[in-house]
Symmetry: C2
């Protein structure tokens, strides 16, 4: 079996065109461009790649992007104060705090400053709670993008067994809840999971979000499985995913590649949240 | 194989003794008993059973209990206003809104009035978000009680495959996150799950919270499985669980019975939240 390799360009083009139009409308209505603020603390390769991609996309859509790059030694109190300032700035439509944070900064000490309406990646407890309780507002953009690709590619989800590898707050956990909301049976696996391959081999759908190149191999899949690669790993100047695509494509029936799969849809979704608020486009 | 039937009386006795002591201390410090407010809308058999059990436990611990029983036809706006009034009452330490609500009342329209500190069953979006993000405050009492029983019975959880049947906001979803927080691999199944028995048969641990008597049968388990019954079903004047205990006990290695298993620990946990705030007792 040779997997269908998902090409996100048509969907990305559709989203891009809509956003460009909406960005113009925003500019006309408000006399300024819609603005995203990105906050990055310390050095983080994957986060920096993501930040640049978003900046680049903002430029082409006609949005405005601002980055606050803070040193590694920034304290919780300092970061908190910077975030409050950005949140209160009426010229900023959304704030994205890039993860991971340095270990001395506890996420719970700062995310409560996120007001629901500017927390465009759904990082704060209010948006997370709404997602858990089943009435989502801003869903983290990876999970939101995944739902859009599922719809675009007409992947059947209801009743299917989806195994998610990874349990981060912006990856695995919201992805699991998003799929649960679509009536999938969901399993969350992680670094402590025993006998991971046995579990992934029982899956109809596998989503990988662990940040390790080539982590998901062909042997871990049942023939015909549907595979979503949510990895973004900078390797020798290129971006590679979490899937060993060369071999997985011979076993799976569907695969989102890296680059060119989920990535562009994730970026556009985050910018859509910033410009238009929550809600999946029709 | 004959399962160990968990007897929650020793743990319940321990919790009860601690709470009784703390309730006296509260009375001495504040010149009044700690008070739980329960709100029930319309008729709901299972909720009414639960309400009476809590009222009964309050009485024996030395806490005060108040019930607001509203008619089925109560509107969202009316319920919202009643909840705000109760939340603001300084003589009330915790407010429990009993579920399910009538269908014309949307949970999202009222739970945002719950302040974190009086939302003792973790029903509001702030507490739910904290749980999802991995820094729990008030965890819904069924999930919190389950963790205590797991610890009391020394059930190994890390890396094990736990299958949760049910995805309610006070049952399956918080239970799944609580077990994920203990490093279990978790699967959430529900009414739309295809081939449920295949999935439950792969589980080391099964938790049932569906509200259907005898739902989990012996055929759905692998030999030696650990089974938690979180069902409370009033049947002909008795309370029965979601597990077909008579046959499951011959296959499982461990089973919490109904009555006498999780139930008393859930009640005491809810009252512990009301009296002492969040946090699992040592």
């Amino acid at each position: 079996m040779e997997a269908t390799i998902y090409d996100s360009r048509p969907l990305a083009h559709h989203l891009f065109t809509e956003l460009r139009h909406e960005a113009q409308r925003f500019q006309q209505q408000h006399g300024r461009a819609a603005r995203l603020a990105q906050v990055i603390v310390g050095q983080a390769d994957a986060a920096e790649v993501y930040r640049q991609q978003l900046e680049h996309a903002c430029y082409h859509i006609g949005m405005n992007s601002l980055t606050l790059a803070l040193p590694f030694a920034t304290t919780e109190a300092e970061l908190r104060q910077y975030l409050i300032t950005l949140m209160r700035d009426p010229t900023i439509n959304g704030v994205l705090l890039l993860l991971p944070l340095p270990e001395h900064i506890r996420q719970q000490a700062i995310t409560d400053v996120f007001p629901v309406e500017k927390d465009v990646d759904g990082l704060g407890p209010r948006n997370a709670g709404n997602l858990l309780l089943g009435f989502p507002n801003f869903v983290p953009s990876t999970a939101d993008a995944l739902l859009q690709v599922i719809r675009d590619a007409r992947i059947p989800v209801q009743g299917k067994h989806a195994v998610i590898i990874g349990r981060s707050n912006i990856g695995g956990k919201p992805i699991a809840l998003a799929l649960l909301g679509q009536d999938a049976t969901v399993t969350i696996c992680h670094s402590r999971t025993e006998d991971l391959a046995r579990i992934t081999r029982s899956a109809d759908i596998v989503v990988v979000s662990v940040g390790r190149p080539h982590f998901l191999t062909a042997e871990m899949l049942k023939p015909g499985a549907i595979v979503f690669d949510a990895g973004i790993n900078p390797v020798e100047g290129r971006i590679v995913g979490d899937v060993d695509a060369e071999h997985v494509r011979e076993v799976a029936s569907f695969l989102t590649p890296v680059p060119g799969g989920l990535g562009p849809i994730i970026h556009l979704t985050l910018l859509r949240h910033t410009l238009l608020g929550p809600g999946i486009p029709e």
